[in-house]
Symmetry: C2
Subunit: 192 residues, 2 copies
DNA sequence: TCTCGATGGTACCGATCAGTTCCGTCTTGT
DNA sequence: ACAAGACGGAACTGATCGGTACCATCGAGA
């Protein structure tokens, strides 16, 4: 039976890719840190690129599950529930190993927008937007879809700002903007 | 007398780094595309890292000069003049070669926040924030400094969103948020 | 015309890259 | 007890990395 070689491989790759970047991490590093043999690596993955894609898929699932949990645990009212995203980001930014969003980083590092990794990263963001859109719809916001995209844009802006500043402050700043945005949307009269 | 070898080197490096990423571009590529000899390269720069820093410094100057021009040419009222940033971004996002912000990309690619390149990139953003702060101050906004940082955060969010979506739409979306933000700030009563 | 500094071209260095191959070992189901 | 498959280790490939050393050439100032 298969042992946990593939799992260790993906775990080490995910950590190293996030901490140091995809291009910066060679196969050798992944092998030594996971304790997996070179041959076993290529038994499980055709190439390094496939590991990248697989890592991103895993991270997408983990990240959205985490976000769902933060939303479920939030004490905010339905109208303010989308702000739970920024509450969550504030936590993430405080982590010592925080180095931005793995998906943004991947899209930046992988210049080619047609690459599989870029696609997986872009799809992740769309799924997050869908979550925000659902929250906004349930809270009765009009024009919820563009509003969801604006909130997501704010979240991404907070992430890259936090990377630059090295402090969690950007989450609060973006959250304040989001709050203004939600209140302005709430008091907006019905159109058409 | 010195010819223009150094200038050609920097020009080619700037273009290649932006289009394909810093790590993805080897010295060889820069040499062949600039037509500069290998020895001449190392006569002008101690290492590749120094070229990266020099390219970022140049780009910082060019970018801020461009922004100043867009602000000067803007027909917006003083209260809305900070929105000229988003007008300008909309133009940039439409360019075929657009691949995000070179400074964000550098910070993402260069994982080490203590590296010289990371510092130059971070300083660039602070300078842009200073420009926004000046516009807000001149327009009479209270709490202009945090407001400037919120607008910059929106700008960065628009940039990474535009990279992901491949369309200039994000600039409009972020501009709309900025407009809401400015109006909310303008009608805010004096504190203390 | 001569000279000197800047230049472009090339061969080379050790290190590392992704990927292939072979082999000995260890585990697991029968 | 045995066979099959998953495994780790290591040697090896060709390509590319950043960086060094050497050499022939060109162009401007004396």
């Amino acid at each position: 039976m298969a042992t946990n070689a593939k799992e260790r491989l993906l775990g080490a790759a995910e950590r190293l890719f996030y901490e140091e970047g995809i291009r910066a991490v060679g196969i050798e590093r992944i092998l030594s840190e996971s304790g997996v043999g070179r041959a076993s690596f290529y038994r499980h993955f055709p190439s390094k690129d496939d590991v990248v894609v697989e890592v991103l898929r895993r991270r997408d699932g983990m990240w959205r599950a985490w976000l769902d949990g933060r939303i479920a645990a939030s004490e905010r009212s339905p109208e303010e529930l989308p702000l739970a995203l920024f509450d969550g980001l504030a936590e993430r930014f405080s982590a010592a190993e925080f180095r931005g969003c793995a998906f943004i980083n991947t899209m930046v590092e992988t210049a080619d927008p047609d690459s599989p990794a870029h696609h997986v990263a872009a799809e992740h963001k769309e799924k997050v937007i869908a979550v925000l859109d659902r929250l906004l719809t349930e809270a009765g916001y009009r024009d919820h879809e563009p509003l969801a995209r604006q909130l997501a844009l704010l979240g991404d802006g907070a992430i890259v700002t936090a990377v630059r500043e090295g402090t969690p402050e950007a989450a609060v700043r973006a959250g304040a903007v989001a709050e203004v945005l939600l209140r302005a949307a709430a008091r907006e009269p019905v159109r058409t």
